[in-house]
Amino acid sequence: MGEIVIGFLLILLSALIYFNSGDFPQLNETHLDPGSYPKLIAALLFLLSLMLIMKQIVTLVKTKEFGFKNGFMNFLQKQWNEYRLVIFMLVVLGLYILSLDILGFIVSTIIFIIAAGILIGPIKKKNVITISIISFIMTFGVYFFFENVLYVRFPNGIFF
């Protein structure tokens, strides 16, 4: 199933690239213009994605695994159990990235490490304390290393 979805997305992508490749300014270089190479690649990707979709549909029809064996809700429940943490982690990571500019590197990194650590591990006192200590050491270590050795300026945010 997933392959078919990915195939469709890739077809969309290749169509997008293909139809946006036409109107680049032509230079006096008479032959290949900036759009022709992407067009070639997009066309190939389109063909192969189509092949993938066909192949997957054929196997799907052969194995006849259309329905959900134990009902749709059960399927969803299982998926949710398996991928719950992945989704939560993505949300936390996304929030962390967005907050970098607002809260600054130090504050948001400390919060992120603690939040992610508690999310994955058990919520026990010992665990929370360890992860807090680690997050402080890590954040300041990274910050000072990059600021002083590589002269990178991290976003400071509103607090500093």
Binding site: F24, S49, L85, F112, F146
Partner: protein, 503 residues
């Protein structure tokens, strides 16, 4: 060749570079050791640290990580029967039974020696072959370069991943990603769709970190993965680990069977040189061949020394093999060497057939760094193995957030752009979905790094002479194209045959 070496000596034998290599080796061993943390991830995360260094120092650090990482998987493979990296799978076949029989020290020592000696063998192969290939490649015109890239990509697509169709799709996807941003000849901005984030293109390293680190981390917090992890750690605690290393005896026993060592190293080096194929394939093939050729093949799988030696020699020698196309042609054979090349590019050094001529001290330095790293690997493994074993006990909840922070910082440090981190997030999700549905990531990465080179050469070829048939009438170019077709044909034939067997 000797002058390359002499230049290398003067570059590498400086105290700071030696320290950096040592640190790299240790980091690599740790990365190879922790299940779920791959060598590729380690080398990707080393890269931002090397921006402030001299090019030679940065590359030396990475080679250290690479050599260390290849031998790191040995420890868990031998003691727990769990390969720390995919390239140590065959090591579990014989090293684990050996340590169950009460000889964990022997298994480890054998593995360490095999890793070290095979690295040396593959270094010799590398030094002997790379300059010749580079000389040959100097004759290449844009037609040959384009066909070479086509061949490299199709070979990568056919050896990695589940099916060749998915591999090719992944490779093309990588090529498409690389077209975003300024076009390499005229500098016209393409496919930004008026999104500011995309105007500078999608940097190669962001793709790399997103695909290999973020998506891997996401994978490791899946419920079943987490449960597996907990189980493993409990098993670790049950076994009190007591072992005595026997460096001298095992050295002799490896040396006494030189054919096995050299055969396995040569297999590793050749497989390493094929784009896309690396340690994970080499160790199994080397093991298999050793079993076929051995006089005592019935002992394999029950804790036989030759099995341990073959597998570890097979995976460590891929490093030297992998460096052959990287140095001689500027075509990386794996994600790891792709990072190595991009480290050079960050410093303004253009990889390609001219690298040996233009930067002989750098290439010599790379050779020597490889040698030094192998020595360091030998020493640190023998001295520090007891400490390394402890590292497998670090729980996931500490590891995952820390590595994520390193990914984000590394991405930011690259260009000092917050927008790169947004890209990282998106690419991480894309990479995760791709791995979930068994698309190989290596073709994407190689596609992204080779994409601009392919385009430049295609357009140059066309500018020089708008005759398409030149790709087919120039002999070397034709050979590469035939190779590409053959690799696709062979893979399809092989998978058909496998299917028939199953039925």
């Amino acid at each position: 060749m000797t002058d390359l070496f002499v230049l290398g000596v003067s570059e590498i034998f400086q105290i700071d570079i030696l320290i950096v290599i040592l640190l790299g080796v240790i980091a690599g061993i740790l990365a190879g050791l922790i299940p779920g943390f791959t060598v590729t991830m380690a080398i990707v995360l080393t890269l931002p640290l090397t921006f402030g260094m001299e090019p030679i120092m940065g590359v030396a650090a990475m080679i250290g990580v690479l050599v260390g990482g290849m031998s790191g998987g040995l420890i868990t493979a031998a003691l727990l029967g769990i390969p720390g990296t995919p390239s140590a799978v065959a090591t579990t076949f014989d090293a684990y039974p050996m340590s169950r029989k009460g000889q964990p020290g022997k298994a480890l020592s054998l593995g360490i020696w095999a890793s070290f000696l095979s690295s040396i063998v593959s270094l010799v192969i590398l030094i002997a072959i790379a300059p010749q290939i580079a000389n040959l490649a100097l004759e290449f015109g844009p037609w040959e370069m384009f066909s070479l890239i086509i061949a490299a990509l199709t070979i990568i697509a056919s050896v990695t991943g589940e099916s060749i169709l998915k591999g090719l799709i992944a490779g093309l996807f990588g090529l498409l990603i690389a077209t975003v941003g300024a076009d390499p000849i005229a500098g016209i901005t393409r496919f930004t769709f008026d999104i500011g984030v995309l105007r500078a293109g999608i940097p190669f390293l962001v793709v790399l970190i997103g695909m290999f680190a973020i998506s891997r981390l996401m994978n490791s917090v899946e419920r079943t993965e987490l449960n597996k992890d907990v189980q493993q750690k409990q098993e670790d605690k049950i076994k009190g680990m007591q072992f005595v290393l026997k460096p001298k005896e095992t050295f002799l026993s490896v040396i006494r069977k030189p054919v096995n060592l050299i055969r396995s190293s040569a297999i590793g080096a050749i497989i390493g040189a094929i784009p896309g194929a690396g340690g994970s394939i080499a160790n199994i093939i080397a093991y298999d061949q050793a079993k076929k050729w051995s006089k005592e093949s019935e002992k394999f799988g029950k804790g036989h020394d030759e099995g341990v030696v073959a597998s570890e020699a097979g995976n460590n020698s891929t490093v030297g093999g992998d460096l052959i196309p990287t140095i001689a042609l500027g075509i990386p054979g794996s994600a790891v060497t792709a990072v190595l090349l991009s480290a050079l590019m960050v410093h303004g050094i253009n990889p390609g057939p001219l690298l040996i001529t233009n930067e002989p001290n750098l290439v010599g330095g790379m050779f020597l760094a490889f040698l030094v790293a192998s020595f360091f690997m030998l020493i640190t493994q023998f001295l520090g193995i007891r400490l390394f074993v402890r590292v497998t006990e670090v729980p996931t909840q500490y590891l995952v957030p820390l590595i994520m922070v390193l990914c984000v910082t590394g991405t930011f440090v690259l260009n000092n752009r917050i927008t790169d981190i947004y890209l990282l997030f998106v690419i991480g999700i894309v990479g995760y979905l791709f791995t979930k549905y068994k698309f190989a990531l290596a073709p994407i990465i190689i596609g992204v790094i080779l994409g601009p080179i392919a385009e430049v050469n295609l357009r140059r070829a066309y500018m020089a002479d708008p005759d398409w048939t030149l790709f087919l009438s120039r002999p070397i170019s034709l050979v590469f194209l035939i190779l590409a077709v053959l690799s696709i044909g062979f893979t399809i034939w092989q998978s058909r045959r496998m299917k028939k067997r199953e039925v």
